[in-house]
Each structure stands twice: as C-alpha cells, then as structure tokens.
C-alpha cells in the first residue's frame, strides 16, 4: 500500500521578468570582459591592502607558484587548461628575477600580481548564454518528463504523454511567494544544503520552475570534469570554484567576483557548506569566505548609494533539499568514516557505476520516491527575518534598518573584523534555519530510530564497534521499533509547533503505514538496503554504515532522548 503525498498543489509560476535581456546575469555576461577586468583590478587593490609591503607580497606569490606547481604535479584534472604549466613557469622565472633585485619602484610586482589575478578571474567567470540556457532548460524538462511518463504509466507509447510533469516529483514548499517578491525588490543570495552532486542541477531547475531569472552560482570545478554537467552548469550561469586552490590571490579573486556580482544585482547561489555533507547530517558549520561577500556587498551598496536613492537590499534565502535517497551516499559515508576513524575503519570496495545512475533515474521516476525542496523565509545579511516588503524585522516584529549595523559614530564605516563577526553570526542563523525548515521524511525517521536503538542496545560500543555489530544482533523487534518511532514522531510534531523543525505531510497518519513508507524508501536504490523487513516482519539491515548516513539527517534535534 502506498502512502499518498498530499495532492501536490505546486502550480506553474510565471517568470517575474519577461525577457532574458532583463536578467542581471545576462547583463553581467554581456559585459563579461569589462566585468572580469573590474574584478581583477579590485582584487589587486584588495591584496595590496592585505600585503602592503613588497616583501610580503613576493613571499605570498612564491607560495602561490609553489602550490600551483604541486597541484599540477599531483592532482591535474581534465578541465585544467593545457597552457597552465607554461604560464606558471613564466611567473616563477619573473618572480626569481624580482626577488633578487631591490625595489626599483617600477611596480613590477604589481604587474605580476595583476597577471595572476586576471588569469584566475577568467578561470572563475561564468559564461551565461541565453541560447544554451534555453536549450539546456528544454532538454532537461523534456527528457525528465518523458522518463517520468514512461515509467509511471506502464503502457507502450506512454513516453509521449504529458500526464506527469517534474513538478509532481519535486515538491517545492515554503516561502515561494515571498521569494518571488523579494527577487523583484532586491538581490537574492540563495544558500542551500548540499548532499549530492545532483543538487546543482536540481536547484537550477527549481529556480527556473519558480519563474526566477537564472542565478549565478558557485559550482565546484570538479563538476566540470563531467562533460554533461559542464554543459549544464555553463549554460546556467555557474562560476567555478576550485577547491584545490587555497592561495591568497585565488581566494581574494573568487570573493571579489562574488561580491561584485552581488553588488551589480545578480541573484546568486552557493552552497555555504562548501562541499557535500559527508556524514549525511545537515551542515553545522559553514564556510565563511563566500558568505562574507554578501555582507561586504551590502555594506558597499549602502556606502555607494547617494542620498535620495533607494539602496538595493540583499536577501539571504536558506533552502534545504530533502531526499529519501542520495546517490553517492555509500562513497560519502565511507570517506567520512575513514577520516573520522583514521585506520580503525576498513572501507570495503563497492563503487557504483553509470549503470546504477541510469537505474537510479528510471527507478526514481517510476516509484513514489519524491524530492522536496523547502524554501526558507528571507533574511537580511544580519540574519534578521524580512517581511514581504523586504523590511528587516526584530524579534518583536519592529522594523529595523539594516544600514545601521554598518554605522559607527553616525557614518558607515568599513571594519573588516566587525564584518567577520557578522559573517559568523549569519552562518549560525542559516544553520538554525536549515534545521527549522528541514522536512523530516518517513525514511529519515525509521533510519534514525533503528540506528539509535541499536546504539542503545549496545551502550558500550563506540561508533566503529557498532558498525561491526555481528549479524545475529542486527535485528529489531517490530513492536518495540514501532513504539520508538511513535515517540520520536511525537517529538517531531512538538518541535514543529515550537518552530524548530518541519516534516513532510506523509509523516502523519497511521504509524504502521508511515513506517512502511519509510522502510520502502530509505536509501531505496542502493544495492544493499539500509533497512529491510525480514520474514518475521522484524527490522534488519544490510548495511549499517549506510543506515548511519541516513540516520545522521536527524541528528542535532536531541531526538535520541525520547527513544
């Protein structure tokens, strides 16, 4: 028996801006060359502020060259440009020359920095093209729809039907209306949770489905190694974030790119967790680099808006993506465990191939396994909620001026340390919002309860001991399991009332059905299922590490206390 999701009322949204030429991201790409020059110019200025004397700068450039050469030796990717070895060799030569010479005041080191930074800016910059955007968009929609109809309606010829659309599979819930309003009033910075490589495509589709203009977004350069991804990402306005490069010029250029794009009104998106969650838990700490650019951009907007003009406001919109199934879960949790356990954990080899990917897509569209995307309430850059008019509100609902946070002695001031602190505060707010808007699925519930029950039955075992639990102990009696699920579900209801969590509508109703729904869906397409019923109707597992992964989704709510 299938537990039905509440009738999906997702309707089609009209685009908020009519033509692509009106989109900020298009404006940005049309003036791509000028924009890159501006990014490079300002990055040089910023780096010179951070490294005011020549010696410091040269030291940093030397470190940069060294690291780049190490990277090229050890970790080259398909996307890396063929000329980069030549480029860095040239820089190195120049650098040696400069360090042996005393400062002649010619500013040669600035020119060298300029060359590096310009190269980085070109590397980072996205290349949004309306034609390929339209194409990519229609390809995804078309093929997803075909797959969906073919799989659902099992008749020959169903592949050409349009009974189901993607909107039936992917539910968008939360503050959609507000998001559409805010996108007209100001600049959106969307910050989703990150579990799977498919997130990037999914969120691109969501933005389109909501009738929003394309966002620029920071995507890991590794995704561009996969050609099909690269095509989509490029056409969707993605800029590239290369996590191998940790040198100062690169990081400053990247931040400058994001900051300037936001200042120019381009709606932006990045995954503030920095990388996919390895443990399966919702992000608890965020990377502050890109996040700080939103705050810096807002301050600059206030600083540069002349009197009488209305400064454009930046809105932070947290989003959680909720899955029953994460394709890469086995790899992710393995990585997590091997880092955490050092050598105490011996991962088994079991990789998924492209066959699994195809199987996943067909199964995904065929079965009742849905994805839901929850859109959080808009925040200002300080993490205050905003209302539909874009006004920031304090806890009592009074309107606050965001500008005042940057004011000191009556004037807007630039204070790096203050803004670092603001970034930290904002990151805490985003994490709290993630937990609040996270939609608990039945599959999360059963995974959490089962794993915690095993843990509590073996209180002396640490995590790694537990993961090696002998097979004869890997059984939970259904009646007991059912009671625990009931208690945890009740606690989730309570958390929802307190505004600390949210759940899918399918979590309600008869507990037996909810458990069945959860059991059928948890990690549904893995070769080894994290949870199954045995012949006696009790609960067993085929893969405890995977179960641990899906269980982690509900950590941080103190739910283990009610089991």
């Amino acid at each position: 028996m299938e537990v039905l999701e509440k009738k999906n009322k997702n309707k089609k949204y009209r685009p908020i801006l009519d033509g692509i030429p009106d989109w900020p991201v298009y404006q940005l790409s049309r003036n791509r060359k000028e924009f890159i020059e501006e990014v490079a110019q300002k990055s040089v200025e910023r780096i010179r502020q951070l490294r005011p004397n020549r010696k410091q700068l040269l030291d940093d450039l030397e470190a940069t060259v060294y690291r780049e050469q190490q990277r090229m030796k050890r970790n080259r990717w398909r996307v890396d440009p063929p000329d980069e070895q030549r480029f860095w060799a040239g820089i190195k030569e120049k650098l040696v020359e400069l360090s042996n010479k005393p400062d002649d005041g010619s500013g040669a080191e600035d020119k060298l920095l300029q060359r590096i930074v310009t190269r980085y800016a070109n590397e980072i910059a996205g290349n949004f093209k309306p034609s390929s955007y339209r194409l990519a968009r229609s390809i995804t929609t078309f093929w997803f729809n075909r797959l969906l109809n073919a799989a659902r309606v099992k008749k020959f010829g169903a592949i050409f039907r349009n009974k189901y659309t993607l909107r039936d599979k992917i539910q968008i819930v939360g503050k959609v209306k507000q998001l559409r309003k805010l996108a007209r009033l100001g600049t959106i910075v969307m910050v989703p949770t990150h579990f799977s490589n498919l997130d990037s495509i999914l969120i691109g589709w969501v933005i389109h489905a909501l009738g929003l203009p394309a966002f620029i977004y920071g995507a890991g350069l590794n995704l561009f190694n996969i050609k099909i991804f690269a095509y989509f990402m490029n056409s969707l306005g993605a800029y590239k974030v290369d996590r191998r490069k940790k040198n100062l010029p690169y990081l400053e250029t990247l931040k400058m790119y994001s900051s300037l794009a936001i200042q120019k009104g381009a709606h932006s998106l990045f995954f503030p967790g920095g990388t996919r969650s390895r443990s399966g838990a919702i992000e608890k700490t965020l990377k502050l680099g890109l996040l700080s650019t939103a705050i810096e951009a807002q301050r600059n907007i206030y600083l540069n808006t002349s009197e009488g003009e209305e400064p454009r406001k930046i809105f932070i919109v947290p989003v959680t993506l909720n899955y029953h199934f994460v394709l890469e879960a086995p790899d992710l949790i393995e990585e997590y465990l091997s880092v955490k356990g050092q050598d105490r954990y011996l991962p088994e080899q079991d990789k998924y191939g492209s066959f699994q990917l195809l199987r996943f897509l067909i199964k995904f569209f065929g079965k009742g396994s849905n994805i839901s995307v929850s859109i959080g309430r808009g925040l200002d850059v300080m993490g205050n909620y905003v209302n539909d008019e874009g006004d920031s509100l304090d806890a009592q609902g009074r309107v606050i001026k965001t500008r005042d946070y940057f004011v000191s002695n009556g004037y807007i001031t630039i204070d790096k340390q203050r803004e670092d602190e603001y970034t930290r505060m904002l990151s805490h707010r985003i994490v709290a919002e993630y937990h609040r808007i996270n939609r608990v699925f039945a599959s999360h519930l059963v995974a959490f309860v089962a794993f915690e029950m095993w843990q509590q039955k073996h209180p002396k075992l640490d995590l790694f001991g537990l993961l090696r639990l002998p097979e004869e102990d890997q059984v939970l009696e259904y009646a007991e399991f059912r009671q625990a699920c009931k208690r945890v579900r009740k606690q989730i209801y309570r958390l929802k009332e307190q505004g600390k969590a949210n759940h899918a509508t399918h979590l309600k109703g008869k507990i037996d059905l909810v458990i069945r729904h959860g059991m059928e869906n948890v990690g549904i397409f893995h070769l080894n299922r994290p949870l199954l019923f045995n012949k006696e109707g009790n609960i067993i597992t085929q893969d405890l590490s995977l179960l641990y992964y899906y269980h982690n989704r509900l950590t941080g709510y103190d739910l283990e206390k009610v089991i």
Binding site: M382, I400, T402, V407, N409, T413, D415, R418, E421
Partner: protein
C-alpha cells in the same frame, strides 16, 4: 575608521545609578559628557542638587535623567550597570529605542535565569545553559544591538573614586567595541585591557563572587592567610571547571577578570560579597544579612544558580556546593570547612591539559 572629531560631542549613557554605575559615570565623565539614568526621582534630585550619590561626588558633566527614550536617542554608546535580577526588565524597557548602531558595554556580574512555568528558583533542581544567560546574551535576546561588550576586573568603586591605580577588561567579539571602551575609560590611573572571549570574561566575573563569599566566611572565622591562599587557588580551579561547562575558555579565568578580580574581592572588606560571608561566619542568618545591606550582593544568587548548573553538567564543585548548603540549608560555616578539609580530591592543577 572614522576620525575622532566626528561625534565626540555625543554624550555617553550609563544605565543604573548604583555604586558601580556612579563610579563608571565619573570615570567616563573625564572624557565625555555623561547621561546617568536613574529609576527614582529622589536619586535624580540628589545628584542635581547635592552632586552626590552613594558616597560618590558626582562630576559636573554627569547629568542624571529619568527617560530611557531620550537616553537612547542622545547616546550611541551605553553602559548598562543594573543588578542582574532587573537586567532583563530594564532591557525590555529600553529595547524599543535601541538601533543596530548602538554599542552596549555592561558592567553587571550576575546571571539571568528564565524558569519553566510554575517553577521557582527554590523548586527547580537543575539548571542548564538554556535557562541561564549572561548579561550580553540577555542584551542580544532582548534588543537589536549586536555590538555588545562587558566590563570586568577588580574595580572596587571606592578605590576607583579615590583614583588608586587600577585596571579593567573590556571583552567583546568586536575590536571596535574594545577600542571604544579603551578610548572612553582609559586615564593615567586606569588601564584598560581587551579580550575577545566575551562569555569567558563574563563567567569569570560572575563566578568569582562565589569564592568571595567563601573568603569572607574564612575571614569571619578568624582564619589567616594560609587558609585564604588555599581557598583562592582551589577557587580558581573550581571556577574554571564551572566556566568551561558553561561555555567559557580557560584563558579568560587566568586574566584580570578571573584571578585579578578574585584576589581583590577575596581580600577586601569593601566587597559586598565578602561581607555576606563574613557575617555568615559571625552567625547571622542570610535573611538578616540581606536586610542589613543597601545593595544586592550578586554572589548569593550566583551560588544558587551555579550549584544547580554544576548538578546539570555534572561538574565537581565542592566549594559552591557546601556554600550552597550554608546559605540555603542549615550547614554552619564550621561544618562546611571541616567537610571541605576532608574532601578526597587532591590533584593540584588539572585544567591545563
């Protein structure tokens, strides 16, 4: 950064005209005009007419006022210095007039507690960090102000008034707040240090009051310096363990706000907390003692709260526990001391690793 000339004309506000509030107002008045908020008319008139408050001779440019709205409107920088039990209420009153550009540096060394419905501080058995807040946390919860700091360290009001050499710590996450505090308070007899561990410094300032009461009790029993040395060093260890459980770092306790303040208050008959202990040892009951004092001794409430936190977080806190029994149950000081002297744990330093 902005230059000095911009708004040096704006006055600085002090909320609370108690002993320490008045001393701080006078310190600030050396640099700027000061508005001193007092709740009752009598205090205001006394300051206006006699230029005197709680034994302090108030400087000419300290103007007493009774209007929080006006205070918040005229001052960008405020120093709230009111007893912890009134602090949240005061914040609720002033909050509608505060903006994100305000800077608040408080000087209150106590905890705020929020109890579940139907519970009282007597009936509740354990307290967690969800219920116990420091003053900076109260400010953040009740207002839009984010640039918050605190003032801590050995600052006995009478000595400050007499211009004896002294120092204070301004703790804040914001360097901006620390440098404002330095600019406003520093003078040739008053040194100001900065610290970024806001909660750590607040906790050090609050928890040291427990040891101050205990020290007063030793004094009241007529014991000498060996006993005091013992108490202070064991006291620091206990403060650190408690402080860590409540979210502070060890370092803050080793500085001016921790050891500095602890040594001062544990040796000084000027300290109200010390007086409480002293009178306890002489056989007075808590009720009698509290009635005999004109201002709140924060330490009494702190003992009550810290004991229940220690129970919640399972921290070993023998001094706090026995002091709790002396204050609120019927253990005598003598019994308490003999219990502590037989306490089995005897590792000297166990907080550095």
């Amino acid at each position: 950064m902005t230059s000095k000339k911009l708004s040096d004309e704006k006055p600085v506000g002090v909320i609370g005209a108690g002993n320490f509030g008045s001393a701080v107002a006078n310190l600030l008045a050396r640099q700027r005009n000061v508005l001193l908020y007092a709740r009752d008319e009598k205090t205001i008139n006394r300051i206006l007419n006699k230029r005197e408050n709680r034994g302090h001779k108030m400087k000419k440019n300290v103007t007493p006022i009774n209007d929080l709205k006006q205070l918040a409107h005229e001052c960008d920088i405020l120093f709230p210095i009111v007893p912890s039990s009134h602090f949240r209420n005061m914040m609720r009153q002033v909050s509608p007039y505060l903006h994100p550009y305000h800077v608040l540096i408080h000087g209150t060394k106590g905890f705020d507690i929020t109890l579940p419905k139907g519970q009282t501080i007597e009936s509740v058995t354990k307290l967690s960090r969800n219920q116990v807040k420091t003053m900076s946390e109260v400010i953040r919860e009740e207002s839009v102000v984010v640039r918050v700091g605190c003032l801590a360290g050995p600052n006995l009001s009478k000595e400050l008034a007499a211009r004896h050499p002294a120092a204070t710590v301004i703790a804040s996450h914001f360097n901006e707040v620390i440098s404002i505090g330095k600019r406003l308070l520093r003078n040739d007899r008053f040194q100001v240090y900065g610290n970024n561990d806001l909660v750590g410094v607040e906790l050090a300032g609050v928890l040291k009051n427990i040891i101050a009461i205990a020290s007063g009790a030793l004094h009241g029993m007529g014991y000498g310096e060996n006993a005091r040395g013992l108490l202070i060093s064991r006291g620091v260890v206990e403060m650190i363990h408690l402080g860590r459980a409540l979210g502070g770092n060890t370092k803050a306790f080793l500085g001016l706000a921790g050891i500095g303040d602890l040594v001062t208050t544990s040796n000084s008959e000027l300290s109200r907390n010390f007086q409480v202990g002293n009178k306890l040892a002489q056989g007075m009951t808590l009720k009698e003692i509290l009635e005999s004092m004109d201002e709140v001794a924060e330490g009494v409430n702190t003992v009550r709260i810290a004991k229940k936190c220690a129970d919640y977080y399972r921290v070993r806190a023998p001094i706090t526990n026995t002091l709790y029994q002396v204050l609120f149950e019927d253990l005598t000081v003598k019994q308490a001391i003999s219990y502590l002297m037989r306490y089995p744990l005897n590792v000297d330093i166990d907080f550095l690793d």
